[in-house]
């Protein structure tokens, strides 16, 4: 959306998720969704860093942010699926799951 973030989808089996995790190098942070929670509540990244969102749950999730200038949406993620979000602009994003609003993650993007 608006070229500020990019979404890369990988339809992953459990083994592929592990592979993706192993591949997550510098500038990519892994955030798991498990038991209807994000594995971390706050994270600080640099401009052009990415977050790998992995659905480790047995239910579907729908990660998104409507924070101004930081909007993005991962379409429905079924169990085992993972997606990468690249943050291209400085700012703060309140990330939630649209289905489970108790799931919250604050992403701070620094220069």
């Amino acid at each position: 959306m608006k070229g500020l973030v990019t979404v890369r989808r990988s339809i992953a089996t459990v083994s592929l998720v592990i592979a993706a995790t192993a591949a997550a190098g510098a500038g990519e942070i892994r955030v798991a969704q498990k038991e209807k929670s994000f594995s971390i509540k706050e994270v600080s990244v640099k401009v052009n860093d990415a977050i790998l969102f992995v659905n480790e749950d047995s239910v579907t999730h729908n990660v998104y942010s409507v924070s101004k200038g930081m909007e993005f949406e991962i379409r429905t993620q079924q169990p085992g699926q993972s997606d990468t979000i690249k943050f291209a602009r400085e700012g703060e994003a309140e990330v939630q799951c649209a289905i489970h609003p108790k799931m919250k993650l604050r992403v701070t993007v620094k220069p």
């Binding site: 998104y64 379409r75 079924q78 649209a98 289905i99 489970h100 609003p101 108790k102």
Partner: protein, 345 residues
Amino acid sequence: MRRRATLAVVVGGLALLGTAAAGAFPADVASQAAAPDVLKTKYQRPSAIPFPSDNGYTKEREALGRMLFFDPRLSGSNFISCASCHNPAFSWGDALPRAIGHGMKELGRRSPTILNAAWSETLFWDGRARSLEEQALGPVKSPGEMNQDLEQLIYKLGRIPGYVQLFRVAYPGEGLTIPNVAKAIATFERTVVSGIAPFDQWIAGNETAISAQAKWGFLLFNTKARCAVCHQGWNFTDGSFHDIGLPTTDPGRGELLPKLVRMKHAFKTPTLRNVDRRGPYMHDGSVKTLAEVVEVYDVGGVPRESRSLEIKRLGLTAEEKDALVAFMKTLTSADAPIALPELPR
């Protein structure tokens, strides 16, 4: 370790269900009576009501909020109170398919119960309020509901000396303000908690508190019937939003999040506490009985792009459906009647 234990529960539960489906129920149901202990630990009641740090509990706030909740002078007509739709005699609902607002006009959605609202992450069927404080004045000022201008409300309450004094005591240094009307109502609402039901007694160890059929229903609820995917934990909701496939044109949460496909026709998962006293069901009151609710989920509703991926055809037998209803009936508490407050004049 925990993951392994949970898995064992599910497998064990399905094995028991298999026995019953083969025709052994109800003669063999005694063997199913002991629901796995691990599963039961997920349904323990909380020990305390959560209150926010910027609106902590005091007796004075609760008492003031109770008065405001039952006071029809919070409406433009001076005739509708919060309790008109959230009636304690109907488990804090109104027993109508859709709420009736200002001028006796029917609204689009059913009045939700306020039972256990203290644990809600979002309020309203579409989750548009993030706290009870944010929610409480929504219906008051809505032209279709209580139709009360808020500035006018402060003027009206300010002419009732009893209220002015009560606000001074409840919110020292602030007194009667629009935010404090919301805060007092929210404080009272948080104290409205469903009482101990037979289900809770069973969870606490009383094996005779619920029937063998209801125990089987509890297992089904957590396994084949998939209810606990969303109706999870002691309050029987995880606060999640789903389009469950009802034939509705109401956009639901999609109105707030129009770009998110799955939020179209999505509504908040309601609590199931005291549910057998709170029909008709669903956001629009379109389903009359719990047995019919189970039928709706068994079929899985209207297939469409927005429908939740958790909704699947269940293939429940008649006996399994009966057991689910029997289980849900154990969630009703025999609470003491609510005393109405005397309102200041």
